[in-house]
Symmetry: C2
Subunit: 188 residues, 2 copies
């Protein structure tokens, strides 16, 4: 991404491409879209798509990250248990949404050549880590004893992804809150 000025030509191209990708994925499913389809629908030529994203998977990753980052305010319920519960329940909804499944898919498919969209993914994760950190700092300021960011990721986010990937039991908000209860029982 050579040009980063928000609202400039670059931002308009990105918006057009992500919107076109979104339409195509909804119409056909992610495996049935080619770079040529995307060029035609978005009005952005293949060479530009290739230079900017490098692959169709990177476009999918960019699209899903943008969607997952929208409307994601940090909960502020007044208690650590309330905040973590709301945060984990939201994460459970995200992970099981069509966007979340697409995101996971693009992450895993990009794994063997991770460097490709590594920067994009790291930016996405850094944003989310900072949100969690802010939530935990607020709890500490209130005099509560919060877990660390790594503990939140390991004890809440990791088991939720694992459940979706490897388990036959559903990932729902009850499970998310159960994980929060167990974490808080261990750290307090």
């Amino acid at each position: 991404m050579a040009e980063k000025r928000p609202g400039g030509r670059s931002a308009k191209v990105r918006a057009a491409v992500l919107r076109a990708m979104d339409e195509l994925v909804r119409e056909r499913g992610v495996g049935e879209v080619t770079l040529s389809d995307l060029a035609e629908r978005s009005g952005v030529n293949r060479a530009t798509l290739y230079r900017r994203w490098g692959s169709l998977d990177a476009v999918v990753t960019d699209m899903t990250m943008q969607r997952l980052n929208t409307d994601s305010p940090i909960p502020d319920t007044g208690s650590l248990r309330g905040d973590l519960g709301a945060w984990a329940a939201k994460a459970a909804r995200d992970i099981t949404s069509p966007e979340g499944v697409l995101f996971l898919r693009s992450v895993v498919i990009a794994m063997p050549e991770r460097d490709g969209d590594r920067a994009l993914r790291e930016e996405f994760l850094r944003d989310r880590y900072e949100n969690v950190e802010r939530m935990l700092r607020r709890a500490a300021d209130r005099g509560e004893r919060p877990p660390t960011v790594d503990e939140v990721l390991e004890r809440l986010l990791a088991p939720m992804y694992f459940r979706v990937l490897m388990d036959s039991r559903p990932l729902d908000e009850d499970y998310a809150r159960h994980l929060v209860d167990k974490l808080l029982a261990d750290v307090s």
Copy 2:
């Protein structure tokens, strides 16, 4: 899989197909193999492949599960910490191996139509859960206080998968043993 008699014609067909798939994936990478390639290399016709596995992804899943299940004895070191440490270190090696990455990939790609190879995956997981259960029961018999199977999966396996998928830090045996130490500190 209509016929299940081990050592019968069905088992020979499966062995030939999985061996051919293994060769093709090593030669070309998983995205570059078609059902026709596999039929040609294995000497098993497309209709049979389709009837038995349903998709190429299911063949990959079957192949990786078979490999991950081979040479996987349950550790028996005489202590819960030793057993869990050895088990988690082995899991870390499995997850980061080419087979582990392929397995994860086939699991995620099959997600939208999970029923397809669900039975296969459940069988694989059931075997592993039973191994963990046996390990924990042995600890209880010795008078130790083991975690539950779900706690082992949530606290050890889930964060290891998460690290490979979502984190830029490496998944290594040190991390596996760190997770074991934290789990045992919380359950004891």
